[in-house]
Subunit: 385 residues, 2 copies
Amino acid sequence: MFLDKEYLFTPGPTPIPNRVNVAMSKPMIGHRSAEFPVLLEDVATRLQPVFGSDNPVCILSASGTGALEAAAVNTIEPGDHVVVIVGGAFGDRFAKILEAHGANVHRLEVEWGTVCQPEQLEDFITSANYQVKAVFATYCETSTSVIHPINELGEVTKRVSDALFIVDGVSCIGGVPADMAGWNIDILVSGSQKALMLPPGLAFVAVSDHAKEVMKNNKAARFYFDLNRYFDAYEQKKSTPFTPAVSLIYGAQEVCQMIEEEGLDNVIKRHDLLKTMTREGIKALDIPLLTSDEIASPTVTAVKPENGKANEMKKMIKDKFNISLAGGQQKLSGEIFRIGHMGYCTPYDVLTVLTAVEMTVKAIDGKDVLGAATKRAQEVWSEHV
Amino acid sequence: MFLDKEYLFTPGPTPIPNRVNVAMSKPMIGHRSAEFPVLLEDVATRLQPVFGSDNPVCILSASGTGALEAAAVNTIEPGDHVVVIVGGAFGDRFAKILEAHGANVHRLEVEWGTVCQPEQLEDFITSANYQVKAVFATYCETSTSVIHPINELGEVTKRVSDALFIVDGVSCIGGVPADMAGWNIDILVSGSQKALMLPPGLAFVAVSDHAKEVMKNNKAARFYFDLNRYFDAYEQKKSTPFTPAVSLIYGAQEVCQMIEEEGLDNVIKRHDLLKTMTREGIKALDIPLLTSDEIASPTVTAVKPENGKANEMKKMIKDKFNISLAGGQQKLSGEIFRIGHMGYCTPYDVLTVLTAVEMTVKAIDGKDVLGAATKRAQEVWSEHV
């Protein structure tokens, strides 16, 4: 390319706003200073509406997987029976984390690219001949770009069992609605590098009062991810038990400011628009999508070109047109490419990525589709203005 | 203060060079991109001399405590007998991590402010009626500002036992020499926010081939801190198993560049000079130091004013003179204050902090000591030019 200007459209990490970079470059402060508790409380409470949480959000210095492990080891003891909804690579990861810690994992497998229906979960729980300690679900399954009906799955879980309902929201929180109490979520986990416009390195755990009680009595071995230590440090001195990633927390403060300026409702509407523009644009090129509209994620879209051209297209989009997309994972490897449209992403960005897809289709298939996807996406946008 | 210019002299977090902030503000990249493996390998190998490691250094997205836990859970199984040298808050933390994971912890307690002598360790191991799986030592015990004779402790460990020798180097690596093979260290851990001039959020684990073999066969429950996953990801594709803190790793690359430009030997000599200037300056004010010169850390100095004036002095130094120091921890709370002099720290910075100490002594005790500490520190400096 004639200019090394970066175009990052992976479903995490995502681009960082310059004002967030500036915030992260503030002079370092000690985490035992008088300043740090003010910063931590500010961010922990301003994140509450983003997570739909009644409690300040717990901030870990780790990647999202670390927070998933924290959710697991603070609620589950070896031998406990748990249900894990697995419809992609991240449901599978949740199951593997639980298996690594000795849980009896019962996988509720759904076809990749589809979601778990509430009735499926109800059948699975009610037909179980064991006591279900917790149900683990993935809000946005990044690997397939579906969004699970978390509110309905939470309703079922609480109606037919006493299980905890624990949700991986890593690749969507900040771009979708969340209501922990209303949706019966006990723990909602996310990471910094997806819709929250930060570099990777922070992870978030929002916890209900009920889950907090369970954690207090949990005997599983843990230290760095022992959330009781985080709650104690926060409640006693608005601090963290171990050295926190201060610069990233400064960045998170700026992200809260940006979300409040735009308005959380508008942030969520924007992601919905980005999704529809992306999907309608791809459809206008006659390229199949992996998922149906009803279950499509507002933060990432999986494209499934025919004849296994996913990797060829992804490679050309990168090599000739300088746009980074993601490929398929595990059983979808080579079958799809994925466009992330979350966080610091506007309708212009979607038009940009669609332009590159058009040029790639023309280069590979010889079809003159230039302008087709972007025009359709513009139409969608204009309907929402 | 008339200007909000920050003066951070805590023993971590430490100030961040502007060029490191700039590096951390580079455009974000995907961790599954072609660019990331180049970055990771560059940093992992350029850190090798800093850790004195024969292998590329493993980079975790966590604080130093996370890396200590990684060292523990990858080598120790519940019920294993371990010896932990405890002479301060961080030796104590290492012991608590191991206890949380079910190890049989044998604490070799030494008086806070002193170090464990090789003979003490030899007696402790040889009189044990159990098989010692590992000896855990703290290179710089931040809470007391001593530096342990790691080379001698490693020699003893290997001469009288088959135990692993595992070292917490969090608050000194980057400011002191290290030679894993020569000193018989199996695992050497550090964090980003001390002598390595980075914000908190990265932790480093350097591992010998022997320790790697032990880890492969270790059955303890772990996931995010399972180092086998990190070694596999690195060996197979120079990547990480989970999303890495990319911006901090860009920062680490710039830190490697800075260390190479100064020269690692010079970095180590500079820290030794900063230590001597600080100690001689404080002595010139007739204020006692907690530790003797022979065992004093090059990265942090504990000052023990008489009549329990530590907190009063620390508070005035902060409130009137805008310099952040650290207090005493646990049993040294209120007894000492600590001056960090590591990482992005020059002789001028030591003169600055000594100036504030002088002004504080004058304000509290009425003694006219202005210039006394700085003059002595300048003398030390001039002897080293």
